[in-house]
Amino acid sequence: MPFAAIIIKICRAYTHSQEDFEDYYQEVCLQIWRSKDNFREQCNWSTWVYRISLNVCLTLLKKKKNNGKTYFTSDVLPDVLTIENRAFEDEHLNQLYVAIRLLSEVDRALILLYLEEKSYQEMADILDTNANNIAVRVSRIKERLKKILHGKIN
């Protein structure tokens, strides 16, 4: 599957368990496959994949919230990472993901796109928003992530 890495990165940020991750991953793949004929070359493939992946994840999350399945979040990282939070080999990356999951849904999308080195305009296109306030928002999210991660990564 081309762009699998993009999908994995996004789905991991929106799920708390391996089971959910696999469901979200499959749903995103399915949605991409279903809408591949509608792809217009106004944007590149990766932008399109980001957009679909984020849309699907946000929709599934909303459905889950409506079903009453929500996760308790706080601004404190757990002392010990559970097996489910050890999705990647890199421990620092696992910690970063746990911190990202503490952010709001939209902030998660913004920081993921920022870390993927998307330009503010591309981020605005993907999230269908205005590019003007993205820089300020990203810097606030980074500050918050640093605070969450502070003391955990040396």
Partner: protein, 215 residues
């Protein structure tokens, strides 16, 4: 020294190919299960409605002073419920195949088969329901002295028992029409109740077949 989040990200994803992506062979398993559960749930709800109606009808008909008609409708409904329950049990014997596509195909075949058999049975039960309804209406009118009034107003009218011949002819022709169009009524009723889920089943099978060809 603390690592920046950008560095953590970059270093963590140095080798993107090693990322463990779930296999997508199972892409539709979850969907198929959901769909099959939905079909079975709808069948169960339908069965429950039939059983409740079977107990409800005699009570309502009792107050309409047509207990026998109510009991006849109730027996007919209970027989329908019994038949539907048998059909529901037979879904367990479906060939689950090796893939969810096989299972969905056999579910689709099973549904078509069940509907075909139901159409044959409903060919007789729809006219019976109609006759019960007509009999109820006629007995209610009778109790209000309608037959007497017709007798007085139209003394030359032919009667069979207590019923005017023209009413019997109209009732008979309508019953024959209900019998003739029962398959259409059945299809319309099924479409109304299960249309969306059946469409979804067909669309899922078509998608899975297409996916199978392309992957």
């Amino acid at each position: 020294m603390e690592k920046s989040i950008e560095a953590i990200w970059k270093e963590g994803f140095l080798n993107e190919k090693s990322l463990g992506a779930p296999k997508i062979n199972d892409l539709y398993n979850q969907k198929s299960k959901h769909l099959v559960d939905k079909v079975q749930r709808m069948f169960r709800i339908n069965l429950l409605i039939i059983i409740i109606s079977a107990f409800f009808f005699p009570i309502v008909y009792y107050f309409l002073d047509a207990l026998w008609e109510g009991l006849a409708a109730s027996v007919l409904l209970l027989l329908t419920a019994w038949y539907n329950k048998r059909q529901m049990n037979s879904v367990k014997t479906l060939d689950q195949g090796t893939t969810s596509l096989d299972y969905l195909r056999s579910l689709d075949r099973w549904l078509k088969d069940v509907l075909l058999r139901s159409e044959k049975i409903l060919r007789f039960s729809y006219p019976l329901y109609f006759l019960i309804a007509m009999s109820t209406i006629w007995s209610a009118w009778n109790k209000e002295g309608l037959t007497m009034k017709i007798h007085q107003k139209l003394p030359n009218l032919l009667f069979v028992g207590n019923t005017p011949l023209f009413a019997l002819i109209i009732g008979g022709v309508t019953t024959l029409l209900v019998f003739y169009f029962s398959d259409k009524i059945c299809q319309w009723e099924v479409r109304l109740m299960y249309g969306r889920v059946f469409d979804k089943l067909e669309a899922t099978i078509a998608e899975m077949e297409k996916l199978k060809q392309e992957v």
